[in-house]
């Protein structure tokens, strides 16, 4: 009886936190395979590389918990970046640029939310439309090329550090904590889970599900705005054609590896956090081991599928 109980506890632990086990296994394997992996600079480098996708993946987690998906994040990032640089150069103020990024990102998300909540369009379709439209407007404004900032100091956002930790890493960690609190400690988070698990029952529980949906997509857009600021600041420029390409796929991959259910209602922010770290370590390992960049997508694809197979299905 006791061993059965132990077994059931173990299987519970596995089903709830399998992504952390997977992370530990991959982490240990990586440190054995290459001693340079454990180097503190390499570790920080990994965190730095995943911070942008990580911030986007946090928003994606919330959207997917609510039973939706947001395909527009990559294109919106490029669009927000272009507009931000224009605002920066026009105003000469970094503060104005950052506010522009947040507002434009949130507004794009809000539009997604309007289409999903009020227009009753499937989120896949609505955000697919936004994906095409946002990219197109970015290309139009930047005439297909890149735009660069002309205000000194803007690059400091992504290229400064506190002690040895870069700002983007700090922003990513802070955002993780904030979204974690929002999802697990507030009414909004509870409603998101309810909505993703059983929309009709949520409505019959007197939840204003339209507002929750608007909130979910707007939040995702705001996080894209933050990610866009970092992306633009890092190189002091943004490319309307190549920035943010396939970011939606990486973000979705991190969410899925993190154990969030595609159809909503089940998942954790902490899962996404480790999901994004797993992706980062894999990329880093392949670089250290000189795997052809053309093969890296293959490995990533394999990991996503393995992760989903191993996760407890219901």
């Amino acid at each position: 009886m006791k061993s059965l109980n132990f077994k059931s506890r173990l299987s519970w632990l596995w089903s709830e936190y399998s992504v952390i086990f997977a992370f530990l296994i991959i982490f240990i394997a990586a440190s054995i395979a290459n001693p340079r992996f454990l180097d503190i600079n390499n570790q920080l480098n990994i965190l730095m590389q995943v911070s942008i996708i990580g911030i986007i993946a946090l928003g994606m987690t919330v959207v997917m918990l609510s039973g939706g998906i947001d395909l527009s994040v990559g294109s919106v990032l490029a669009f927000v970046g272009v507009v931000t640089v224009l605002a920066l150069n026009a105003s000469g103020s970094i503060l104005v640029a950052v506010f522009t990024a947040l507002i434009v990102g949130s507004f794009a998300g809000f539009l997604n939310g309007l289409m999903v909540a009020k227009g009753r369009i499937a989120s896949f379709i609505a955000t697919l439309g936004m994906m095409a439209a946002a990219r197109s407007i970015a290309l139009y404004i930047a005439e297909g090329g890149s735009v660069s900032g002309e205000v000194p100091g803007f690059t400091l956002i992504a290229n400064s550090d506190l002690w040895i930790i870069d700002y983007p890493i700090i922003i990513f960690l802070v955002m993780t904590v904030l979204v974690y609190i929002l999802i697990h400690k507030t009414r909004f988070g509870r409603y998101v889970y309810a909505l993703g698990s059983n929309e009709k029952a949520a409505l019959l529980s007197a939840i204003r599900i339209d507002r929750v949906k608007l909130g979910v997509y707007t939040l995702a857009g705001t996080l894209v705005g933050i990610a866009a600021t970092i992306e633009t600041s890092r190189l002091n420029s943004i490319s309307s054609s190549s920035s943010g390409v396939q970011y939606e796929l990486d973000a979705i991959a991190a969410v899925i590896i993190g154990g969030t259910r595609m159809t909503g209602g089940k998942g954790k922010i902490i899962g996404t956090f480790f999901g994004i770290l797993i992706l980062g370590i894999l990329n880093n390992m392949m670089n250290l081991m000189n795997v052809s960049p053309h093969l890296q997508g293959f490995v990533k694809g394999l990991i996503i599928i393995i992760a989903v197979v191993f996760q407890k299905r219901d």
């Binding site: 009414r187 509870r190 889970y193 993703g196 029952a201 949520a202 019959l204 939840i207």
Partner: protein
Amino acid sequence: MPTNSFMTMNNIEKSFNGVSVLKKVTLQVNHGEIHALLGENGAGKSTLMNILGGVHQPDGGTINVNGIDAKMTNPRVSQGHGISFIHQELNMVSDLRVYENMFLGSELLNKIGFLKVDEMCNKTSEILSKLGVDINPKEYVRNLDTSYKQLIEISKALLHKSTLIIMDEPTSSLAEHEVERLFELMKSLKKSGVSIIYISHKLKEIQQVCDRYTVLRDGEVVGTGSMENENLDNITKLMVGKSISEERFVQKHDFGPVLLEVNNLTSPGLYKNINFTVRKGEVVGFTGLAGDGRTELFESLFGYRNKYTGEIKINNQLVKIDHPYKAVKAGIGFIPKDRKENAIIKDLSVMHNMSLSSMGHIEKFGYIQEKAELEKFHYYKEKLNIKVHNPRITIDKLSGGNQQKVIIAKWLEVNTDIIIFDNPTQGIDVGAKREIYQHIVSLAEQGKAVIILSSEAPEVLKICHNINVMYQGEIIARFTGEEAKEDEIMSYATGSKSEVEKIG
């Protein structure tokens, strides 16, 4: 035993989780007859038919078809014996054509595996014309009336050369002229030697088409015979049983002022001209058959449905409710039926389900206070006797009765003045049922206005001060709880009595 017998089920027994559902039930159907299977909800009709259809396995008893002992181990075996089951919800793929639906799963193929469309169409036309209907086999099913869909189901049964067709409440979604068409068809099937088991609540219809009947009550056969020399009142009595006035939970007490007043509420196709009032401290029941419109009526009142005309007054104030949120603000709580689809959030824990509609009560500066939430949980766990050891397990791990109690607790915490219960004891064992009745009654004693929707007449008799009977979207009769008789309610609910509205 007459030699004409085509199918016999002998001494069938079945229990679920130790609860006996069928006790030595014998059903005998002759060649070419329409046999009515009658009984109230929960009498065991569907279980019996599911055993015949191979969905469930009996614990005891035998089935004999055409002189051969048959073991219905799965639905395919049952079909192999010539039995077709037409369910209440039709299994049609509406985006396919008529002939495609007819041959779904048994398509005719030529040598290289392509579909023989022409041959399938011809066969379809052949059978349809035999039934006296003229539909193009290439028509899409979504473009057809419901009655035609029923005909296609029947044609499918004929295509598989079925000799016994089970029809479960086939007329519940049909208009009157469509019912006529179905009955003519049933009569012509009968002439060609096909037997039909006809399940329905509508006694008038049964008198029209059926030859013999069998009545089930609480899993036992309480009567069987020929329809010809039987009057409907006797059958109703058989269905209801003699122990009519069981204990009443609700006591007579003085009511307060009118809390809820509904005038002329109408929603085309669902319900029409609904008028009623509910006073403080009063328990009002609404009963009727499936599809009588009562659920839709109260879903409108709760703001889940928006398309209606008429007025709703709460505390003598006209209110416009178009979202459940507004209903709660106006003071209405609603515990829906079909718990799994409408009430529980299966991925959330027991505790989180309980607090979902009253998050404001456990918040401080926008944060959920887990301690306060836990306290609420323990309070209601004690109060409603909810059997759960860990508040953090997901709600789907609880039994039906405990799930329902959690949902009730959720709405008790919202604390609205008006509480609507839709089928509050659906799929719940007897013990939990009693507890829920007592809670409902005590709510009324505290001065709440309570509305009970139930398809089970005994339930509303037990706990309601006043009872409204609905039939096809209208309130057709009103009784006070003390004077109402179950068989009388059934007569109105089944449409066999439909005089001018009776006000009790």
